[in-house]
């Protein structure tokens, strides 16, 4: 049990219509190998953005509330019904005890409602439960653009998300914007979305038909804002603004604040369909127009709303108004407020833990307990109880994370124990405290995942071959496809027999570094990487202009002929794969393509998404290629 292995993955695994099941497989493998809860083990994501972890923690997605609380649905008649539905009940398999920490859901949820609506959320009014939107269907990214294309979504506020460039199936997104009534873009440069009427191939007549009103709000770059980034290891690291915003650009949160305050003013003056939720939202910042992120961070951490007392904690009391030191203090009686229970402890009364920069690592395990602060409760390795045997002794005495201290009667260690501190080993409590059973799940019950309890191998929606395991069901049976005229999918025999994948370069960052001379110096022009054999077949030399086409659209770039991508033998057939870096489009510094050929890569990708995470299948679809 001395050797530990980790699995580190990125979007090569998740940009698939079965991506979630791939991650599941990794998790199962690690559970079977005993690598979970161990330092140097686990399943770890290399994120695509510096704060994507923060985005999901704070519910920048439609189907969760901050701290991964589930969203209410129309079926939840009241708060109690909602809490009943989303709170797992313990299951105690055989001799195992289970902490089932989600059993505290009501405390997290009520504290959240108090943070959102303050005094307007009371026990009497069901904690303002009716203020929350009830999510009746999927409102994920691709759904939203599909709704816009169908005319259901009339307007869009796009803050730092370049929808046209992201796609998938960018032309559908462009055409959706043509139908929208209004578009507000907050970004750091005029990008493809806020200039959608300049997309290649658009005719003057088509331009004249567009009635969309577009507002461009210059926002702030990452170095112009303070706040936190949360990394793959769940560390909240405070960052300080390095430079002021240039010209008339404003901080994003100031823009949002001003919009909110204006909308609230309109509701106050004119009323509306349901003003309560807007008028009831707390906005107690010292500068309401531009809330200080310190105040917001403290609000997220949470505070006592009345004097609170708990004999089991040290210290035992907190006064009203004081910041709380951890989620163990959260109550469901309205005496605590907390914007995100997972972040409770990030900004206690003593000050911000996210600003700590202690470089000591006394255990040598890379824990760095005093550098910033990780959720939950500064625990650096989740489920670290599993790093010890049943009796509470570390599996590897040379690499001790936590252990049971008999005389103290609690778990202690180099890391904060992710466990009930005073639970004796003989109580047999399972390490997986967030699962109702307290154990890691090899089998996912109760429709926990949309596609199935066990992973299964499926081909991408556009695949060059049939699935050998079950040719009649080659791809994920629960995958979501779309049905407008813009949603086309290639089939075998359509002439698209080359597999295409899209990815990122080190030298560029998504769609905005094409404005920066430094990045454009390092990699100036868009290209497709093609195997030498394919290049020979098509008579393409390195540097030649080529057209890459999917059943949806065409992408123009130059060819990079390489040894590094080899042809594959798939089901006895020689199959080629080509790869396209994503970073170019029709806005930004010149990239060598004439105006009408400055196509974004996601014109090619299909509107196919994973049924659990709703991620589009950017990493596997079919194309053909020819010299331009």
């Amino acid at each position: 049990m001395k050797k530990v292995g980790t699995i580190i993955y990125s979007v090569g695994w998740t940009h698939h219509s079965f991506g979630t099941q791939i991650i599941r497989t990794a998790a199962m493998a690690q559970l079977l190998l005993g690598n979970v809860g161990r330092a140097g083990g686990g399943v770890n994501a290399l994120r695509g953005h510096s704060n994507i972890q923060g985005a999901t923690d704070m519910a920048g997605v439609f189907d969760i509330l901050p701290g991964y609380l589930k969203v209410p649905t129309p079926a939840d008649a009241d708060f109690a019904a909602y809490i009943k539905r989303i709170t797992p009940t313990s299951a105690k398999p055989k001799e195992w005890d289970s902490f089932n920490y989600w059993s505290n859901t009501s405390k997290f949820a009520v504290s959240f409602m108090k943070a959102m609506y303050g005094d307007k959320a009371t026990k009497e009014n069901d904690w303002a439960f009716n203020y929350l939107p009830k999510v009746d269907r999927k409102y994920s990214w691709v759904e939203m653009w599909d709704n816009m294309y169908k005319g259901k979504v009339k307007g869009l506020l796009a803050f730092g998300m370049n929808g046209v460039a992201i796609g998938p199936n960018s032309q559908k997104n462009i055409d959706a914007l043509k139908k929208a009534d209004w578009l507000v873009v907050c970004d750091i440069y005029p990008e493809e979305t806020s200039s959608f009427w300049e997309s290649p191939g658009i005719t003057d007549d088509q331009k004249k038909q567009i009635k969309t009103e577009v507002y461009r709000l210059p926002g702030a770059g990452f170095a112009e804002k303070d706040g936190t980034f949360v990394n793959s290891a769940r560390w909240l690291q405070w960052k300080w603004a390095a430079v002021p915003t240039p010209g008339q650009a404003m901080l994003d949160h100031e823009i949002l604040a001003r919009i909110f305050l204006k909308v609230r003013e309109l509701y106050q003056k004119e009323g509306g369909k349901f003003p309560d939720a807007i008028l009831g939202a707390t906005w107690a910042y010292s500068n309401p127009n531009s809330p200080s992120l310190t105040e917001v961070a403290k609000e997220i951490n949470g505070k006592a709303l009345a004097d609170v007392h708990d004999d089991k904690q040290t210290p035992t009391d907190w006064k009203a108004g004081q910041q709380l030191p951890g989620f163990a203090w959260l109550r469901d009686d309205g005496t605590t407020s907390c914007g995100n229970w997972l972040y409770c402890g990030s900004w206690p009364d003593a000050g911000s833990n996210t600003q700590r920069r202690g470089t000591e690592d006394p255990s040598g395990l890379g824990i760095y307990p005093n550098w910033a602060w990780s959720w939950p409760s500064n625990r650096r390795v989740l489920y670290n109880r599993a790093s010890c045997d049943v009796s509470g002794k570390p599996w590897d005495p040379a690499r001790k994370q936590i252990w049971w201290n008999e005389s103290a009667g609690k778990w202690v260690g180099n890391d904060v124990p992710d466990f009930k501190a005073d639970s004796k080993p003989s109580d047999h409590m399972g390490p997986f405290i967030m699962q109702p059973e307290g154990l890691g799940r090899l089998f996912v019950p109760l429709a926990g995942l949309a596609d199935g309890p066990f992973p299964e191998f499926y081909e991408p929606m556009e695949s060059p071959t049939e699935n050998l395991l079950h040719p009649k069901q080659s791809n994920n049976p629960v995958v979501k496809k779309y049905s407008t005229d813009m949603d086309k999918y290639a089939k075998a025999g359509d002439g698209f027999d080359i597999v295409c994948t899209s990815y990122r370069l080190t030298e560029h960052y998504h769609y905005w570094t094409k404005n920066n001379p430094m990045n454009m110096e390092l990699v100036p022009e868009p290209f497709v990487e093609i195997p030498e054999d394919l290049a020979k077949e098509k008579g393409i030399a390195g540097g030649d202009k080529v057209k890459v086409s999917s059943v949806r659209s065409t992408y123009y770039c130059k060819a990079m002929v390489t040894k590094r991508i080899k042809p594959m033998m798939i089901n006895g057939k020689k199959t080629y794969q080509v790869g396209i870096p994503i970073h170019w489009g029709y806005k930004g510094l010149g990239d060598g393509r004439p105006e009408e050929e400055r196509t974004p890569i996601n014109l090619l990708s299909p509107t196919v998404i994973d049924p659990n995470a709703y991620t589009p299948e950017f990493k596997g679809f079919l194309v053909k290629i020819e010299k331009a």
């Binding site: 454009m520 022009e525 390489t562 040894k563 060598g592």
Partner: protein
Amino acid sequence: MSNGTLEIKAISGHRGGVPGGGNYQQADGLQHEGASRSYDVCKLVDTTTCIGCKACEVACLEWNGYEFRETMFANTYQTMPDTAWNFWNLIRFKEDEAEDGTPQWLMRKDQCMHCAEPGCLIACPADGAIVQYTNGIVDFNQENCIGCQYCVTGCPFNIPKFNEETKKVYKCTLCSDRVGAGLEPACIKSCPTGCLHFGSKEDMKFEAEKRATQLRANTSYKNAGVYDPEGVDGTHVIYVLHDINAPEKYSLPRNPTVPFFVKMWKGPLKWIGGIAMGLGVATLFGHYLRFGPKPVEEEMNQGGKAR
């Protein structure tokens, strides 16, 4: 330009010794002539952990104040075909294949090697245009440069680059300004994988050999080794290569030396020529004393003033 941690060891085109010279730690490890805080520095580039991210290219440009320029797609990830007077640090990419056909993508950070026996300095005729510090850094002082490009001739790594407008030559300085202030070079600071190391030559050599040994023992790179060419008396930039027997794959010369003819014209030819000229003048003077000017026939007929 006296600088506490930068002591001059050699100056190009300079007659006599180095001002204040002799105060440096020699190979025997002993201090000579008073207190010296200098030791020879070394940059270790481990090509086996380089990911070709080019952070070092950007750091070098930013530290030295050079503008980013427009480049072109050339069927490679390499930013420029070669270093330039205003682009001193280049990651060279090479697609290669191992014996069993596995693709190998070689990436090597190319910049001045700061040779212990620097061909550029040896070839340079201009007093003070090139300086070698006791810590091994070879630095160009453009104010003394005459633009003759002998340094280009003398360099076995083709590093010094000429600027057509200013008519001066430029190259990597191993961040002598940063090192002089006790900091590491800009490229070292920016490297995200830690494939660039900086320290004393002794320490870096030790680390490099350790890494090469580790590669040979634990990976398929049975020919991993350290590139520290003896032909130029060792360099202050050393590499760990996957294959020390094939430096050409990394665009490195197999056995770089100061070119033979440079050594000839700066060495034997100089003092032979000097002696010959001196002897020549002396001989002619001696001849004049002995034989005097040639008499004309008329004078001789007059039987007179034969001298």
